[in-house]
């Protein structure tokens, strides 16, 4: 068992008391691919980040259990967390434009990640970086290693991010909207790449997205979050038989290419979903 979350709550202090961002979420994740789907503000990113305890400093985090490979993340000190963050669980963020260092070459950034977690000399690390770039299917890894982030396209930048996360050979990959800044073709390429790497290396994957049909193609299991709660958890293949009206609503409001809808269905939010 890799990750176990029981009754996770994340609250933020506001002028009128504590505001609940994540409410009683329980999830377990083994060596599998889990999708967390929800709209902005549903708490999906906070839930995934709590595994690394990477939350805003004013967040109040409580849980009955929050473990990563039997390490109690909730009470771990910074040194223990440092051994998880990056090393055993990597995090891929939405926009490579903002998450890569603009004044370091791609190769140097990957080599840095390699050296921090695995040690070794500069030359060895740079060679490893080029090897990793080849693994994320970059055709000319030597050339890309010398390029700065602004010289790379969005899809290339995201591949560099993935290569960097793979450097310490983690057991879990958390991908937080890894493709929403990319166009449809590149999006599919990147997700296939992540899926392929995760399967080949036997890693666990948490894929966070707001696109339910898309996630179902790349995950085994999907958890749908609404207003800080998991309202439905189901196998990706059962998506067409989703029970919860919110899950159904997410699927129904999408325009489709295969058949024409004269008017899109608008989500009718039921206050009872909140309880």
């Amino acid at each position: 068992m890799l990750v176990e979350i029981r009754n996770l709550r994340i609250q933020f202090p506001t002028a009128t008391g504590l505001s609940e961002a994540v409410r009683n979420v329980s999830l377990t994740l083994g060596q599998e691919k889990l999708g967390i789907v929800g709209e902005s503000g549903s708490g999906k990113s906070l839930t995934a980040r709590s595994i690394l305890r990477l939350l805003p400093s004013n967040a109040v985090l409580t849980a009955d259990k929050l473990t990563f490979d039997d390490i109690d993340v909730l009470h771990a000190n910074e040194t223990a967390l440092r051994r998880i963050r990056g090393a055993r669980a990597g995090l891929i963020l939405q926009d490579p434009k903002f998450s890569l260092n603009p004044v370091m070459t791609a190769g140097a950034q990957i080599a840095e990640a390699w050296r921090i977690h695995r040690g070794g000399g500069r030359k060895l690390a740079m060679q490893a970086a080029i090897d990793l770039l080849a693994q994320v299917q970059i055709r000319d890894p030597v050339h890309v290693a010398k390029a700065y982030p602004h010289e790379l396209s969005g899809g290339m930048g995201q591949r560099v991010m993935i290569a960097m996360m793979l450097a310490p050979d983690p057991e879990l990959l958390i991908a937080d909207e890894p493709t929403s800044a990319l166009d449809a073709t590149v999006q599919a390429e990147i997700l296939r790449l992540i899926e392929d790497l995760v399967s080949r290396r036997g890693m666990g994957l948490i894929l966070i997205s707001h696109d339910l049909p898309l996630v179902s193609h790349f995950c085994d299991r999907v958890a749908v979050m609404y207003a800080g709660r998991v309202v439905e958890e189901l196998a990706a293949s059962d998506l067409l038989h989703a029970q919860h009206p919110y899950t159904r609503g997410l699927l129904d409001c999408l325009p489709t290419l295969s058949h024409k809808k004269t008017r899109l269905t608008v989500m009718q939010r039921d206050p009872s979903w909140l309880t």
Binding site: A184, T185, P213, P255, L257, T265
Partner: protein, 248 residues
């Protein structure tokens, strides 16, 4: 309403748009799809007057476009951008944002027009004196659309208007654009990489690749798979494959 013939745009040595031609009738919606870097947004920016360096011919309502546009042009043609977080002035209230185009174009009844503008995009009057950071993404995009409509334009240029929004909000905004077009007889040019969104709103679609418009087809032909160019077929196939949830 809009006629574009042999439009080319260069940035230094690279030719971003290569001899693109299309026309859009009054009250019609025309969609442009393509991958990042295909030149679809560049076409829109040249149309809107944001990029003066182009060659070819562009006419709007029979008037040939020159690099420098008249004030009336900037009233009649309005643009809505992808990111409502970036396109609204952070230190102006909604009231100020909406009144500016009215003042610029010397229009009267500012107070009534703002109230009407807000109700048209289904925003409560309470948002009038808020700042854009106090609104949700969907509300912000509604403000951006209301602002574009303030000066009573004929043409709306829409650059990925829903790709920064949640799917449920996207549905609301697409329905709103549909209603507004019917109510005002607006002409739309919509740019997006999402084929389903473009086919939903637009009757005719141009597919761009590497700066060229490789195919012009109707939304019905695109849905039915009656495509001519391999790039169109590839985009369609991918879109269909990913939009259906994985079946057991």
């Amino acid at each position: 309403m809009i006629e574009v013939a042999a439009l080319s745009v260069r940035f230094g040595k690279t030719e971003a748009v290569k001899s693109v031609s299309f026309d859009v009738a009054r009250g019609e919606s025309f969609g442009i799809v393509g991958e990042s870097g295909s030149g679809k947004s560049t076409v829109l920016r040249a149309l809107s007057g944001l990029n003066p360096d182009w060659t070819g011919r562009m006419e709007i309502d029979g008037l040939p476009m020159t690099p420098k546009r008249s004030k009336d042009f900037f009233r009649r043609v309005q643009m809505v951008f992808q990111d409502p977080y970036g396109s609204l002035h952070p230190r102006q209230t909604v009231d100020r944002l909406l009144s500016e185009p009215l003042i610029v174009h010397g229009m009267d009844n500012i107070d009534q027009r703002i109230m009407r503008g807000l109700s048209e995009v289904a925003l409560p009057s309470s948002v009038r004196f808020r700042y854009s950071h106090q609104l949700s993404g969907g509300q912000r995009q509604r403000v951006a659309i209301a602002r574009a409509l303030m000066a009573e334009p004929d043409v709306l240029l829409l650059d990925e208007p829903t790709s920064a929004l949640d799917v449920s909000v996207q549905a609301e905004v697409l329905n709103l654009l549909d209603d507004l077009q019917r109510a005002h007889g607006l002409t739309y040019v919509l740019v997006s990489h999402n084929l389903a969104v473009v086919a939903h709103l637009c009757g005719r679609i141009g597919v761009m690749q590497g700066g060229e418009m490789v195919e012009l087809l109707s939304a019905d032909d695109l849905r039915a798979g009656r495509t001519q160019h391999p790039h169109t077929a590839a985009l369609r196939e991918l879109s269909i494959e990913l939009e259906e949830p994985e079946a057991a």
